[in-house]
């Protein structure tokens, strides 16, 4: 792909060396593709790609906007931001047992969001290179709106106005069955 650009991000807080190492190794084998990474406070410093520790929001948005695809940790900020800019996003979950985050919630996120249009998953660093190869061949997903579902907006609005809960009698939103 000519002029393909990849933006790698591990979020704004903890580093994620396992992912950044794998992306850096892939970048060194694909020198024709421009890769830029936000690495947080990770220890590993990339050698085959440009990187920074933390971008301010306007620059972060600009990096997302100019990328052909995003690769990131399985954080909701990364996933939602990519989809709001209609960019294919490849996510790799942090693992709780490696102290990459406090528990395995990102694995659940990867499993649940991996099925959505525009989102692909590499469960670990060994599967990342192949997933990176294929993400550049993907079509861009539809742009995600900037708003929550109409249902959630309505739920929040009702609570603010009337102190109502979704289970209230004037509502057809019900708690899920077991």
């Amino acid at each position: 792909m000519i002029n393909a650009k990849i933006f790698a991000t591990v979020g704004a807080q903890m580093g994620f060396d396992r992912m950044i190492r794998a992306v850096d190794a892939w970048a060194s084998e694909n020198p024709h593709i421009q890769v830029f990474a936000q690495i947080g406070n990770g220890e590993y410093e990339p050698t085959a790609m440009e990187w920074t520790r933390l971008l301010e929001p306007p620059e972060f948005r600009a990096r997302v906007e100019s990328a052909s695809a995003i690769v990131g940790h399985a954080g909701m900020g990364t996933i939602i931001t990519a989809l709001q800019h209609a960019k294919p996003v490849l996510i790799m979950p942090r693992r709780g047992d490696l102290q990459e985050t406090r528990n395995d919630h990102q694995i659940a996120t990867a499993e649940r969001f991996g099925v959505k249009a525009g989102v692909s998953v590499a469960m670990d660093e060994h599967r990342l290179p192949e997933a990176l190869d294929s993400i550049l061949k993907r079509d861009a997903p539809d742009r995600l709106s900037n708003e929550a579902s109409a249902e959630l907006i309505d739920t929040v609005r009702r609570f603010i106005r009337d102190g109502e809960s979704p289970a209230g009698p004037s509502h057809d939103v019900v708690p899920a069955k077991d």
Binding site: P58, Q106, G163
Partner: protein
């Protein structure tokens, strides 16, 4: 006491929307259309996020995780100060530590509180989402399978 629901002149309650950074903040912004017509103040942990908000006042607090007790105490004091200045009738949070302190202190000051647990917690409610229960007037999960009649309830999601 603060005004809780639309007053006799039809004004909407004053809202304080608070979240930590990253995904919590991104999710709070997606709920912002629900605050339309309300006097509004956003509170978060990075000054640069000011460029994200559609309208309303914007205040920042220190960023802290549960591992840094000193910073957490400082965050709680900053939030107390903001609550005294703002006196919101309703507090809405998508997590995590800032929402916890805002709810505990805000309940004391008479505010109503709405917790929206992060959509990142698909298998079990977040730790903060669990311990906030006594201080949340309404607690929402974004996953139907995590909802129960005792709460959290399901009422839609940010995506």
């Amino acid at each position: 006491m603060t005004t809780q629901t639309p007053d006799n002149r039809g004004r909407l309650p004053k809202v304080l929307a608070i979240a930590s950074g990253g995904g919590h903040w991104v999710q709070l912004l997606r709920v912002a259309p629900a605050f339309e017509g309300c006097d509004l103040c956003f509170v978060t942990v990075r000054a640069a996020y000011k460029s994200d908000i559609p309208r309303g006042r914007f205040r920042t607090i220190v960023d802290a995780t549960r591992w840094n007790k000193f910073k957490l105490a400082w965050m709680a004091l900053q939030i107390l100060w903001i609550l005294i200045r703002e006196r919101p009738a309703v507090i809405v949070s998508t997590g995590a530590a800032p929402g916890y302190f805002a709810f505990r202190l805000g309940k004391f000051l008479g505010a109503r509180t709405l917790w929206i647990d992060s959509i990142a917690n698909a298998e079990v409610l977040s730790m903060t989402g669990q311990i906030i229960a006594p201080y949340a007037d309404l607690r929402l999960t974004q996953w139907e399978h995590l909802a129960s009649p005792e709460g959290p309830l399901y009422g839609g999601s940010v995506v």
